[in-house]
Symmetry: C2
Subunit: 571 residues, 2 copies
Amino acid sequence: MIALRLGLAQVNYTVGDLGGNTETVLARARQAVDAGAQLVMFPEMMLTGYPVEDLVLRPTFRDASRAALDELAVRLDDAGLGRTAVVVGYIDDDGRPRNASAFLLGGRVVARYFKHHLPNYGVFDERRYFAPGTDLTVVRHLGVDIALTVCEDVWQDGGPFTVAGRAGVGLVLNINSSPYERHKDDLRLPLLQRRSAEAGAPIAYVNSVAGQDELVFDGDSMVVEPDGRVVFRAPQFVEDVYVVDVPVAEAVDPAPEVTGEVMTVSRFATGVPPAPAHEPEPAPVAPRIGDEEETWLALVLGLRDYVAKNGFRSVVLGVSGGIDSAVVAAVAAEAVGGDNVYGVSLPSAYSSEHSRTDAEDLMQRLGGHFRTLPIKSIVDDYVSELSLTGVAEENVQARIRGTLLMALSNTDGHLVLATGNKSELAVGYATIYDAGSIGGFAPLKDVPKTLVWALARWRNARAAERGRTLPIPPNSIEKPPSAELSPGQLDSDSLPDYDLLDSILTRYVDADRGVEQIVDDGFDRELVHRIARMVDAAEWKRRQYPPGTKVSFKAFGRDRRLPITNRWREN
Amino acid sequence: MIALRLGLAQVNYTVGDLGGNTETVLARARQAVDAGAQLVMFPEMMLTGYPVEDLVLRPTFRDASRAALDELAVRLDDAGLGRTAVVVGYIDDDGRPRNASAFLLGGRVVARYFKHHLPNYGVFDERRYFAPGTDLTVVRHLGVDIALTVCEDVWQDGGPFTVAGRAGVGLVLNINSSPYERHKDDLRLPLLQRRSAEAGAPIAYVNSVAGQDELVFDGDSMVVEPDGRVVFRAPQFVEDVYVVDVPVAEAVDPAPEVTGEVMTVSRFATGVPPAPAHEPEPAPVAPRIGDEEETWLALVLGLRDYVAKNGFRSVVLGVSGGIDSAVVAAVAAEAVGGDNVYGVSLPSAYSSEHSRTDAEDLMQRLGGHFRTLPIKSIVDDYVSELSLTGVAEENVQARIRGTLLMALSNTDGHLVLATGNKSELAVGYATIYDAGSIGGFAPLKDVPKTLVWALARWRNARAAERGRTLPIPPNSIEKPPSAELSPGQLDSDSLPDYDLLDSILTRYVDADRGVEQIVDDGFDRELVHRIARMVDAAEWKRRQYPPGTKVSFKAFGRDRRLPITNRWREN
């Protein structure tokens, strides 16, 4: 056994910014080499960002990705980093578009690997874009046979890892852009342990830390051994380069011949002999963090990157004194700084006194900006012009708020944040084009109401532990939720208790369970029917909703794609 | 040679309405049998509608589809139709979900076929849902070996048709839910001629006539022979059952054995011997219709089905006196009847006199309803509350209109129609949440401005030919386009001439051509750059746009999927 010193670059990228992403690779490769790394690995599609969606269909974009790779190889060498191997993800095109990994050394592309397993479920559409690779690339470097793989290759049985095992490799590199969802980190480790056993070699797994529209990538890079031992594990949501000594088996001659497998083994050699042995240093294994913290960090990263990568500096939102806008504002204050958060109270005739005072309290706690724009006179104008009553009158109030926030965005250049949560979006308990549903980004789009409360309590508890100001007014957490669109209105007038609602929604939406199955789980049949119909009927509103960070197994948006026109009703 | 009398059911379905779709099959099978059909074929996924998107992922839905098929077989028999073979599309599940076709006879499912080629490009995501079939199903019935295929099977080389040719079949049935796009009918015929030659047998091709969210299915059912002869062709956009005599070769014994192909031949036999020969009657070949008429009919069908299948009876829209709202109103009047169309003029301080008079003229020509709601006092309220100027003031006017239309929808139950066109949606030349972009459906979403004018002229010319009232005020066609959000404003202040704009957009958006390629086509480099950046920057607005009927090769929506966060810029 010898030890290879690997640099795992758990870093950020921006979709489409090939130049900026190249600079990131150069800077982070330098950092890794300075820390003694012999090989530095970067995430899947590091050069292009991920997912680039239909940009793949533009021939000019694929050409630019290939050109960026060649340029990167030369620039690494020019920067004096040519003696360190760099493995990096990009888009290739050999007549068909490929999700590819390249092995760079000495100013050249030594070898390429094309992703074999292409995910086409959930948020993924890779069969739309790429042709699957059929060769397993093995590069002999520093006396070790190193196999290249990409992301989904570890999630499917058969293919690269079993072939790598038969090929007798000493190390498997797996580069990822693996989107965050709650509890996914609990799946990754046992999966990698199984694949490492199949390959009979350690796996070095690197994932990005980035937000891209509805997805965030949480890092959680690691190195595991065939016996299941965790050599190293990075913290989630922290951008850094981690340098890790990995014990590996030296390559043997002749290398085993592999036939009759689904993939052909393609062998390459750099000609670089084994380095003098060094004593491996132990690497840290980051402790797991709790579910609320993990979700909170995902929301902060998702919003931070959306704001920054789209050229905004500040955000504006309606603050109602309620829990949703309080949590959105608190997430925003962490993402972009309290001084860049503009909270606006938009009271109508039906707004309670505490709606304004709690909102002001919130913005003070966060160090943000606060203003009040009463909407009563504008409401009166609409109501008298159209003789509005009932739901029409309620909705006009809600939409006036949306229009005012958009006007502030036009005037001051803020990104407007929608404050709606997943539970209300699921059942359509929100006015389309109101302050909860307009704007550029909806941080709580995939957060059920009960989790909104749990996040608020967790966030305040953390502040209390650290002796800091509680960011969220306790009154906003404790008071009964209300849209305040008519006198004395409460959510509970129209909806079941949120614990009950979310329990049904998780089953119907996230798990695709049938109505009868949910009834069998112990819920009232009539209620389950009613909720299912509300969910189905609200699809048209969801289609016009801004993007928001996916944190659940199944998010509305690219993850759950239902027809609007849909007469399906379960008996 | 003998002749088989086929019924081609070019009919409508509704997604998720398994009961209603079953009734359609029963009624249309009866109609076909009354006209002497020996075999009746229905479109792809007739029982479930198409596309059902993530409903496929619900086990209860797949079970319901299988149960509906079994029930249909029994009910056909109960209705005295059991001696006529019926071929119908549905979703099967043999452990994996399948896009399937069934051959029904005598109250039983005689044979099933699972679609081999699964499209996963453009508007299609079938690799997300289905496992590909690997068996070619051949049913011997009435002395003829009949192969079953589904839709995409004709669009890809290799597979069912070459295997059918080696298996010596006498007839291939191809059932479709093939979405309309301009010029697609010109592709279908040569394609079917090629496949018929490969199979060495006639192909009977049936397609639905239906609207489903952003897609419409245009029929265009036909029968072609291996020598290229067109036996029959149905008109586009007409729901009916067409009964056609098709000359076919009798089956031989033993049937050819097929080995070494990508698909295995699975043979079934109904035991029903050849019927007494009858003299084949010639069938009609519908003349092709012009591009404008075809597009117009697609827009009418798309809107009509969206309204009806979502339980609406009437529509409301802002009528500005301009060409977009005039064409939307005219399409709506054909789709739902003029008496169900409510046009609202929403003049501001900057609205011209002709904006109101042309709008009123329009609604009179269409036999619709007209009212005027001046927005000046509401605008003044907002402007003074926020001290708005410039774009913020322009946008507030636009959004007030949106809010008023949504209030009318709340009050009266109308579906709100967005009036924006593809050109403005492409470059973001529209206020998000204004009267052009809010509501439930956007008929012109995929219609470039130049085509909006062409459609208006064509529609008026047709009315003139027939001696009818011109539906669209000639003044709305002739006047220069303006948003009228500031004094004397014209579209041409901010945008190039629409002929030029649309020429660039078609290349950049529909054809994915690079900036340099477009410059090489003869366009100004700076202008092409500017347009490309406007398109990229407007993606966030498009994501929140209502659905609208796809008529082009590449529609915004499910057809073109770009990231919002996207720094890609072509040099």
